[in-house]
Symmetry: C2
Subunit: 354 residues, 2 copies
């Protein structure tokens, strides 16, 4: 593997000194970019894009060619594991992800296909190694997975949900079956992320998109517990380099202390949390990633710049901050506004590092 | 007006001793009840039900005839004010509320019709006085309004939204226009709630359904500031009785301290906040209302009961707690499960009051 030319992102995750705050954007390879839409049109549908390692590599690198970003993130879907378990993932236009089979009973959980990561998710690993090779040390590559709870919501609801009616009924009525499902998922995620690390991922992020739908107590028992199991099970070193782990629970601002207790290296923050207060709360236990409201990218360049400044000021001086949006970049954002955002972080952040 | 026979709810809001924890449910008059669906079918569409004071009174009282609830809440819609401003509210089946006119520019704000509460919203006031008279002192009647920010989201987006793209662009790009709109709304809400109080509302709740979509800083400036303006402008006494004010920001668990600073009597909590920790944070400044996850009502009677017990235990002994769900009751809930919920609070809560 070629030497890493830009290690700002990895250093900030480990709270080591950096010359400026590193930046990447969740969903940076996405529909807001015309070149992404062209690649996707070439692939056909969304899953065909994920399963074609050359096109997945192409779209992963597109935002790096436009903006001075400090990390690349594997282009893939969060639902690859449930798909590999035999649920039959498909996408309906304008409707989000759907599954042919749903999981609601103990029998359903027992019928899930045991995932053989190398065989069933080889297309993801091939994408990782292709991207890593193509990056040639330009920036680090982030691997990722959905959290067990987040994957379970889609598997039980059969797709996206507003009220999580079925998955919560299952959780409250048959907690032991929900725990079985979450344990199977946690073990699959560990295998999956470790395989991504072996294939070349230099950091990994666990996306807990729907942990914030849970009560305080249920979050600890049904989401955080399994993310801790994953953190404990990951190979956190590869080829002599540390592989940091980032936990991101959207809507998890009230639970940062217990998230830090998992032993993760960094926590992702959505925009509802003041990053300066978050830093005070977690101390030097973890780095923080975030946290500009993605909707600020609909505003003027001046406003984007002033929001970047405000967040840098709130975090304060010293390392341990990875700049990002508080959630994925929206599809209707003007790519020029994304440029203003990234360049503002590059230009304004050096003052916060000595 | 006849004497109030059950003042538990009002006493708890003022943190005065009670024999047991009072309970009501957000959206307790709603689609989960067959008798509500019958009244609504009789009215025709949703707004016709709101505008018919006899039917609005009928559906307000229906849940009280089923369950031992400690408060009634006016049956109405949160978008009556924007409708009275001339935006033309209508409901499309399965699509939620929509407006014929949308508000995005300074000219749009200036063209808004000045609301004359008595004339334009007389149907709501008539419903309040009818319900109050029909209740005949059985339980107190709660009046309500949407918060200025929440109303603005619908007025600018033209209906419901997932990403609040237009309203946030307006807020970030033309904050002075957004402040004009929010100020007009705050003044209308003050008039509206004061008129509800004069008509007989014995407590009022401000529903800030979408404040939780904002960043920490934007919440303070664009939502909380205007709710404080409302709290300051309300007539908080009527006929010699104090009229308590409840603030509820869904997703506002991180901001309870500043919400308590508004001078409101009570804060509503969604289910993501541990009510015991919330009590520690706000001390004796405000009462707390909440906060069971509405999805627990899809669970078994045993589980519903154990969640009620857990929340009572978390709040602890003494007054200042009004039991409620953390958001409105879902339409697919079995009314018998709602009964188990209410009766569990009635049965289990006396132990927490001496």
């Amino acid at each position: 593997m070629s030497e890493l030319k830009n290690d700002r992102f990895l250093r900030a995750l480990m709270r080591q000194p950096v010359d400026r705050t590193p930046i990447w954007m969740m969903r940076q390879a996405g529909r807001y970019l015309p070149e992404y839409r062209a690649s996707r049109a070439q692939a056909g549908d969304f899953m065909s894009l994920c399963k074609n390692h050359e096109l997945a590599c192409e779209v992963t690198i597109q935002p790096l060619d436009r903006y001075p970003l400090d990390a690349a993130i594997l282009f893939s879907d969060i639902l690859t594991i449930p798909d590999a378990m035999g649920l039959g993932l498909y996408f309906e236009t304008g409707e989000g992800p759907k599954f042919n089979k749903i999981v609601r009973t103990e029998a359903d959980v027992q019928e899930l296909k045991v995932v053989n990561t190398e065989a069933d998710l080889g297309y993801v690993l091939k994408a990782v190694s292709t991207i890593r090779s193509e990056l040639n040390g330009r920036v680090p590559l982030i691997g990722f997975s959905g959290s067990p709870w987040t994957l379970a919501t889609y598997m039980v609801e059969g797709g996206s949900s507003k009220d999580f009616r079925h998955v919560k009924a299952m959780m409250y009525n048959t907690p032991e079956v929900m725990h079985q499902l979450l344990d199977v998922l946690a073990r699959s995620v560990i295998d999956y992320l470790n395989a991504q690390i072996r294939a070349g991922a230099q950091a990994v992020q666990i996306f807990d998109t729907w942990g914030g739908s849970l009560s305080d107590v249920a979050y600890q028992e049904f989401s955080l517990k399994y993310m801790k199991q994953i953190v404990d099970g990951l190979t956190r070193e590869n080829d002599g380099a540390k592989v940091p782990v980032i936990l991101f629970t959207k809507g998890g601002g009230q639970w940062l202390e217990s998230m830090a207790d998992t032993g993760a290296d960094a926590l992702g923050l959505d925009w509802t949390t003041d990053i300066g207060s978050a830093r005070t709360r977690v101390g030097d236990r973890v780095a923080l990633q975030g946290n500009m409201d993605p909707s600020v990218l609909y505003a003027s360049p001046e406003k984007i710049r002033s929001e970047v400044k405000r967040i840098l000021e709130s975090y304060g001086t010293g390392s341990g901050h990875v700049f990002n949006l508080g959630h994925g970049i929206h599809q209707f954002v003007d790519p020029e506004n994304a440029r203003v955002f990234v360049e503002s972080v590059v230009e304004l952040s050096a003052d916060y590092h000595s």
